[in-house]
Point group: C2
Chain length 263, copies 2
């Protein structure tokens, strides 16, 4: 369960709620871990045997000037430290947006920035997950929009500590999805699920509950498994209609929908 | 000028307004040509020496049952007839959405349907333009989202009368854009421009005036010219804030922005 699906809960509450509901892991958000403190969260998760499957998020490498760029580098190292302290499986990277409408240059700069961060992350034992995002976000979030592109970028870092995270919401439309997922064998650090509502009720917070949208989630997960991935699958749904429910109910609903539409 | 940018004008008014403002051609919409009548529009455009650069739109091939499918086939033939009577450069095809969340099957069915329609369109001298649409529309409009995919589909029809239309709004995010546009040489039937606002204020009617968004429109048009295309370039902007302006002013603004951002 990703915390973004149950934002009314603090990190500690997500861990507690997930343990109670029989979930095995939680994905956390950096802007929510200060409430409880990283060390306390890590201890509590360990005690309840809940894995921290991901920490969202680092990245945003492409600042418009050198000062801002340095500030982001430092913030990314802090993110790596937090992921290390939490024992998170991966730090998710949002890689964009471009400056001056120049996607090609932006993609090269992002590649270089990831290389640099990867050296640091290696020393802390943290894996970096490049997240290809739906082209809907190409203008304001990510210049990496296909899995093939994320894989090439990960490869260019020549680092075992850099891989990809596959989110059904971001990837389902890709005509080369089957081949790209097969090519991702060995590089998949995590998987996230949400459905696609058509048309999306909101560009940021318009993701759908599993089964409510256009995505063949069963096939998506079969492709991922066929690529050798057997790690955790998070459900990450940004949607105020879902957030309005009681968080414990959301957990029940997600489990029910997962069984009906995926497993 | 595409009529969708100045929807307050009827087809006749667009033709008249464009002639007055020094535009050379107009793209028209099927749902707006009945107001004035196809024959009358064609004659008026000829008299004012305005080309009909496109007719939007045919397609929507994937009806859920056989009856609906036949109805759409018939409607597509009517669209071809209208394009022929107007002397339009191309009939734009929207190719989707999928039934039952099955994009692969949908893509195959669309290919077959275009083959069939192409034989008919040939007899009427009408070119069919497959429009790859932004993945934002993969759920409710088009299963063809990249130019590479549209080109493969056009190629498979083995028909000279089938090509592609390139819209900056739909294509700008593609990591293979440069190569795909180069590969499109000889298959480009038309070009449309709008900018990408980030985040889009609306999924359907949130397109941006040239220069207001994330797209390097100059580069887009350079790539298209480098691929040998020297035909008309339409500006097609769905945006109620722009629609609220006086249509004649919109024409002025577009011309000004085109000169500043493209030419």
């Amino acid at each position: 369960m990703n915390q973004a699906t149950v934002p009314r809960w603090s990190a500690m509450e997500v861990i507690e709620g997930c343990a109670r509901a029989g979930y095995l892991g939680v994905g956390l958000w950096r802007d929510r871990i200060q409430e409880d403190g990283v060390v306390r969260i890590a201890k509590y998760a360990a005690r309840l045997e809940i894995e921290i499957t991901s920490l969202c998020r680092g990245g945003w490498f492409l600042a418009p000037d050198a000062t801002a760029r340095r500030a982001r580098e430092e913030d990314n190292r802090r993110a790596v430290n937090e992921a290390a302290e939490l024992g998170a499986h991966m730090l998710v990277l949002v890689v964009g947006p471009a400056n001056d409408r120049d996607l090609e240059t932006a993609r090269r700069s992002v590649g270089e920035a990831i290389c640099e961060l990867a050296s640091y992350a290696m020393t802390r034992g943290v894996s970096l997950a490049i997240e290809p995002m739906h082209p809907l976000y190409c203008g304001d979030r990510s210049v990496v929009v296909t899995l093939a592109q994320a894989l090439r970028m990960a490869e260019l870092t020549r680092s075992d500590g850099v891989g990809v995270v596959l989110d059904s919401y971001h990837l389902w439309w890709d005509p080369d999805l089957e081949q790209s997922i097969a090519n991702a064998t060995g590089s998949i650090l995590g998987v996230q699920l949400a459905d696609w509502l058509a048309p999306p009720p909101d560009p940021l917070n318009g993701r759908g509950m599993l089964g409510d949208g256009s995505i063949d989630l069963r096939r998506f997960c079969e492709l991922v498994r066929a690529a050798g991935y057997d790690g955790p699958v998070e459900v990450e749904i940004f949607n105020p209609e879902i957030w309005a429910l009681d968080p414990a109910e959301i957990l029940e609903l997600v489990a029910e929908r997962y069984l009906a539409n995926v497993d």
